[in-house]
Symmetry: C2
C-alpha cells in the first residue's frame, strides 16, 4: 500500500507512493480540504489542472448534510462529487470537539448537538466506521477525542486511553464491515496519535496504535494553539516510535514553512484550509511570501500574482483585476485566488519531492525560506 | 458591419453576422452580463466553453470601480478581464436612473450620487463616449434617459427630446474621438430608442435616430414593469421604422419565451441577468421549464439538471449534489448552475438560428413553448 522510494540522506524526509482504490498518491503530498464534498469555489476539473492528487472531506459535515445514505445511494462520495482521484475522510472527532455544542463524551462514544440545527446525535467509533464505509472514501479515520491546548496531563492521559480504546474498536468494526460485504477494494484505515503536548503520552499513543496495526498513522491535536516549537518537538517525539514503513499524516497543518519543517521530520501527508480560506479573502501565496490582493497598492499593478506561475489565474489575470474583483465583491475573485493557492501548494510539494529525490531537500528548504520570509 | 444571411419567410426573424473589432457574432444572440467586468461566478474559459459569443459589461459600474483609466492602462477591457471575444458596453443611463441617488437631469447631462459611496458625479453624453472609448469595448451606447413605467406622456415626450439630442451629441463626439486618435479599428455605436409605451413617441424616436445614422439600434426602457403584451406591441411599432439592414438590440430582456417572441419580431441581440441571477439562487433553465434546485424533492435525484445536456455541470453533477451545495451554501453551486444556464441560453439561440436558416422558426417556437410551459 505504501512504498518508500527515496529517503533523504540529511533529514527525515522521504518520497513515497501510496496506493489507494482510486489510484496512486506521490508523497509528500498536500490535500486541499473539501469540507462539504467541494473544495470551496473550485470544481474537480480545476483541482486536477492545479496538480491535486488527493482531497480531504469532512465526515462530520457530510454525516449531517446531506447524510451518508444520500451519498451511498449516489454510488459513494467520488461519484456524488465527481472526483475520480483519492479521497481521505477524517473521523469527525475534531469537528465534534470544536464545532458541535453540548458535547458529552463517555467511553461508549460522544453525544453532541449539531452546530447547524441543534439536533442531537450520538457517534460511536463503530458508527464513524460505518459512515465512512458508506462514503466509500479511500482513506478513513477512527473516532478520536481531540483536545484543546493547553490541557492538564491527567485529563490528556485519560483521553488518550479512550482514544486508544476507540481505535481498537474501530479497527475491529472496520474488519467486520469488510467481512460482511466481501468488497475487495478495501479502504485504508489510519490510526490517530493523540496525547496533547506531552511527549511520553505521544510515545505511549504511538506504541499502542502500532500494536493494533494501522495502514498509516496520523498526528492529531496539533496546530490547536501551541507554540510552533512545541509542535515540531512533538512531531519528532512521535515519528520516532511510528512504523517507518507506513505513511505519516500531520492533520490540519499548515503554512508553507510548516510543511517544510514537517517534511524534514518525516511527515508524508498534510491537509489544511489555508490555501482556500486565504484565497477567499484575497491572500495569495507566492515564493516571496504571502500578499493581500485587497491592498490598494495593487490598484494598477498589471503583473500576475507571481510572474512565471503557470496556473490559470496567473496566465490570464493581473493583480489589478483581482483587486478590482475583491473590491466589487465578485465571487470569481475567491475562485481565482483559491485556484492559484492550490496550484502553489501542489507545486511546492512537487518541488519538495524532486529535491528529496536528488538528496537536496535541506538546500531546497533553505533556499525556499530565504526567499519566502 | 452587419450582414443578414437569412430572413425567415413566416415572421420577422432573421439570421445575421455582426463584425466587430474582436471577431464576428452570429445573430440572433444572447449576451451574458458581466456588470463589473466578470460574468458572475464564471471565468472566460467557462463562458467560451458554454458557446458565449459576446458579453455585456456596464459602463456605470466600471466608471465607478475601478475607473476607466485603470482599465485603459491595462490595455482596455478585453485585456483587463482576459476576454478575447466581443464586448458591448451599455451607456450607464439605465443604472444612473435605477441605482444612483439624488439624480438631477438637465440638458447638459445628469448629476448623481454613486450608490456605493455617495460620491457626486456628472455624466454628459460626451463623457460617456470617452469612458467607453477608454474601455475599448466593441459596441458602445450613447447616454440616454431611462424612464420608469408608467410615465405621463408629456414627460416621456420631453425626455425623448433630450435623449435624441444626447444621441446626436454622442455621435458627434464619438467621431471626433476617432479623428483625434487615428485608431482604425472603430467601435460600433448604437442608438437607443426610448419613448416609453407610446407608439408614436417610439416611432418619432426611431426616425430621428435614423437621421443621425447609427451602426445599430437598441430598444431601451422596456422590461421595466409594463405588461408583456405592451412590450411586444412596442417592439413591433419600433422595429417597423428602423433600418432593416442594421442590427436591433432589445436591452435587458429576458426569459426564454421573451427571446422567442422578440426574435419573431425581428430582434437580433439580447442581454439579461436572468441566467446568472437565477443560477446563483438555484434556478435552472431546462427545455421543460425552470426548476429550483433548492427544492427538497431533489434530495436524492441523481439525474443531471437536464438529461442530454452537454454542459460541464450536467456531464458531471446530479441535482442531488447541486441541492446539497446550495443547502450548505457552497459558492460552487452558484457557478455550476450559472454555467448550465448560460449554456442553455447559448444553445437556445443556436437552435433559433438553425431554425431560421431552415425557415422553420415558427414551428421551432411552437415546439419549444409547448415543452417549456
Amino acid at each position: 500500500m505504501f512504498k518508500i522510494i527515496t529517503k533523504d540522506k540529511n533529514s527525515g524526509a522521504r518520497c513515497g507512493v501510496l496506493k489507494t482504490a482510486h489510484g496512486e498518491v506521490r508523497t509528500p503530498v498536500f490535500m486541499p480540504v473539501g469540507t462539504h464534498g467541494a473544495v470551496k469555489a473550485l470544481c474537480p476539473e480545476e483541482l486536477e489542472d492545479c496538480g491535486t492528487q488527493i482531497i480531504l472531506s469532512n465526515t462530520y459535515h457530510l454525516y449531517l448534510r446531506p447524510g451518508e445514505k444520500i451519498i451511498k445511494k449516489a454510488g459513494g462520495l467520488h461519484k456524488f462529487i465527481s472526483w475520480k482521484k483519492p479521497i481521505l475522510t477524517d473521523s469527525g472527532g475534531y469537528q465534534v470537539f470544536s464545532l458541535a455544542t453540548l458535547r458529552q463524551v463517555e467511553n461508549r462514544g460522544v453525544e453532541f448537538q449539531s452546530h447547524i440545527d441543534g439536533s442531537r446525535h450520538f457517534l460511536t467509533p463503530e458508527k464513524v466506521m460505518e459512515i465512512q464505509f458508506d462514503l466509500a472514501s479511500d482513506i478513513v479515520m477512527p473516532l478520536d477525542e481531540c483536545l484543546p491546548y493547553p490541557v492538564e496531563k491527567p485529563y490528556a492521559a485519560r483521553s488518550l486511553e479512550r482514544t486508544t480504546d476507540w481505535a481498537k474498536r474501530s479497527k475491529k468494526h472496520f474488519e467486520s464491515l469488510y467481512q460482511k460485504s466481501k468488497i475487495n477494494n478495501r479502504q485504508l484505515l489510519f490510526g490517530i496519535v493523540q496525547g496533547s503536548t506531552y511527549p511520553d503520552l505521544r510515545r505511549e499513543g504511538a506504541l499502542r496504535l502500532l500494536e493494533i496495526n494501522f495502514d498509516g498513522y496520523c498526528l492529531g491535536g496539533l496546530s490547536v494553539g501551541e507554540p510552533l516549537s512545541v509542535a515540531y518537538d512533538i512531531i519528532e517525539a512521535t515519528v520516532e516510535y511510528l512504523d517507518k514503513k507506513k505513511p505519516r499524516y500531520l492533520m490540519g497543518v499548515g503554512m508553507p514553512e510548516d510543511l517544510l519543517e514537517s517534511v524534514e521530520r518525516g511527515i508524508d501527508l498534510f491537509d489544511c484550509v489555508l490555501p482556500t480560506r486565504n484565497g477567499r479573502n484575497g491572500g495569495a501565496f507566492t515564493n516571496y511570501g504571502k500578499i493581500n490582493l485587497r491592498n490598494a497598492k495593487f490598484l494598477s499593478d498589471y503583473n500576475p500574482i507571481e510572474t512565471g506561475c503557470n496556473c490559470y489565474t496567473c496566465r490570464n489575470f493581473s493583480c489589478a483585476y483581482l483587486r478590482h474583483l475583491f473590491s466589487v465583491k465578485e465571487m470569481l475573485a475567491s475562485k481565482l485566488v483559491s485556484l492559484h493557492n492550490i496550484h502553489f501548494y501542489a507545486n511546492l510539494m512537487k518541488n519538495i519531492r524532486a529535491a528529496i529525490q536528488k538528496n537536496e531537500f535541506m538546500q531546497f528548504k533553505k533556499d525556499f525560506l530565504t526567499k519566502y520570509r
